[in-house]
Amino acid sequence: MPDPACLLELDDVRRLYRLPRRRLLGPAPRRVAVDGVTLSLGAGETLGIVGESGSGKSTLGRLAVGLERPDSGTVRFAGADLWTTGRRGKRKLRQDAQMVFQDPYGSLDPRQKIARIVAEPLGLLRLTHTEAAERTIEALAEVGLGTEALDRYPHEFSGGQRQRIAIARALITRPALLVADEPVSALDVSVQAQVLNLLAELQRRHGLALLFISHDLAVVAHLADRIAVMQAGKLVEEGPREQVLSAPSHPYTRNLLAAVLPPDPARARARLGLVRRRPA
């Protein structure tokens, strides 16, 4: 049964990818990217998805905003099944669920000015030119960029600023859900902190539900209220942040936690079990 308090519900969702055929007439082999995942996200909540490469976490994010169709199982947004709802429902979804990607260099069209890039999703809303321009300026201001950005091109901005632009574009339709797939992985630590602070701030200010996907447990732990751990397409552990971090139940979660190296020489060496037998 759909739970009215839940914004996003995934129920036993499976997604297969067909791989290239090995033989001309043979069956195409398949790979299960997401294998029977059930989870829900309430309005205003932050759920962190952590996993290593190939665990299916990005596919999960794409399923959540309807960029991919599950092979079985259902994805419900605000109570309605994403894939049985009509055109109007699809349109509403495009406004209400937005996405930010990892690569701030690849996700912005290099030939368009910032004003056009940020305003693009407004095509869904049928606003007047003045309204659209106001919204664009407002969205840029939210991420800390001024009107001087409007007439510039993506290459004129640093990686951190480009990620701000991508966030402004995602927020311009005032969505209820933001899916952020590795949004800080390409950024340096000092800039990463700026973007994480921005996401936390926007989340609070607008009551956004945030699905935050990352390979970096420390970053996920910083933002998320709940943490879900994925391994080989399956959700192996899910729970409140404190519980997953201090009393992980699955061995894989414990492995992930143990592999994080703190910037403290004695503890980092102990984590790796490094003992130097022949000191220099």
Partner: protein
């Protein structure tokens, strides 16, 4: 005599818009068997320092200062002499093993390639050395045939093959440029352990280049922190990471989310602004525009590396922070 001695190393790159100084007076000394780390954010010059040591930069890049390996002036060596040095005496592994490995040659061929170039060992000895190296890095030839191609291996296995290539030639110094950045954290731990064990067994010196403060903490006994083409703090990792004297290094630590085991979280202290674009040689502190402690002195005079309390711990700052002291 140090194994590697770098003094006042500069790297200038002429461009149509003027000459850019990409390395601005790097000092670094490495004894045989030392494990050092260079840490910094993108564009700080840490990889360029490694490429300068290997003399792998384009011809138009101009190097200055002193670069000496075991008494030999690397800036004076000709290309054939450099060819004999690279790989044989100084090994290097890179971040992306897929681009560093040759896709059309088997891994066995590539591991043995350096030995063939050395020309000292016969075919049977080369083969034995190759199999030994594979076994040592955990690619048991029983399971992983030397006839496999790079695309048939996972990322971690490829990095193991890279390490076997370097290891087979028994270099005195291994330069590792972000060797685990492209790998998952659990694989990263295995590769770091492997490199440390091998260096420990063979007495090989390590120069580890990374942006990851945790990796440097684990592997490097001495650390050099770079910012905008300069070393801003240097010394034994234990001291440097406890005292965090340079405001930039302190800023980096403050910007990190706390370790996931520690539950505290709040607003992260981001460093305002961005890394400056490369320009001419610094006349002032490069970090001053982003630094809360900067004053007129910092904006007009370039700070030299000055000794702090612990032996060999030095920072290039007029207003270094003390242990445990917060931002003033």
């Amino acid at each position: 005599m140090p194994l590697l001695e770098i003094e006042g190393l500069t790297l200038d790159l002429p461009t149509p818009a003027g000459t850019l100084r990409l390395l601005d007076g790097i000092d670094l000394a490495l004894q045989a068997g030392d494990w050092h780390g260079i840490v910094g954010e993108s564009g700080c010059g840490k990889s360029l320092t490694a490429l300068s040591i290997m003399r792998l930069l384009p011809d138009r890049a101009r190097l200055g200062g002193r670069l000496v390996f075991e008494g030999r002036d690397l800036l004076a060596l000709d290309e054939p002499a450099l060819g004999r040095l690279r790989g044989a005496e100084i090994g290097m592994i890179f971040q992306e093993p897929m681009t560093a490995l040759n896709p059309v040659r088997t891994i066995g061929w590539q591991i043995a390639e350096g030995l063939r170039l050395d020309g000292r060992l016969g075919r049977a000895d080369r083969e034995a050395r190759t199999l030994d190296a594979m076994r040592r890095v955990g690619l048991d030839p029983e399971q992983f045939s030397p006839r496999l191609y790079p695309h048939q291996l996972s990322g971690g296995q490829r990095q193991r093959a890279m390490i076997a290539m370097v290891l087979a030639r028994r270099p005195k110094l291994l330069i590792a440029d972000e060797p685990t950045t492209a790998l998952d954290v659990t694989v990263q731990a295995e590769i770091l352990r492997l490199i440390a064990e091998i260096a420990d067994e063979t007495g090989m010196a390590l120069l580890f280049i990374t942006h990851d403060l945790g990796v440097v903490a684990a592997i490097a006994e001495a650390v050099h922190v770079m910012y905008a083409g300069q070393i801003v703090e240097t010394g034994p990792t234990d001291h440097v990471f406890r005292e965090l004297a340079h405001p930039y290094l302190r800023g980096l630590f403050d910007a990190l989310p706390s370790a996931p085991g520690e539950l505290g979280r709040g607003r992260l202290a981001a460093i305002p602004g961005q890394v400056p674009e490369p320009g001419s040689a610094a006349q002032a502190c490069r970090f001053a525009p982003r630094c809360r402690r900067a004053d007129a002195l910092c904006r007009s005079v370039r700070p030299a590396l000055v000794p702090l309390g612990a032996p060999a711990h030095r920072a290039a700052c007029f207003h270094p922070l003390g242990p445990g002291r917060d931002h003033a």
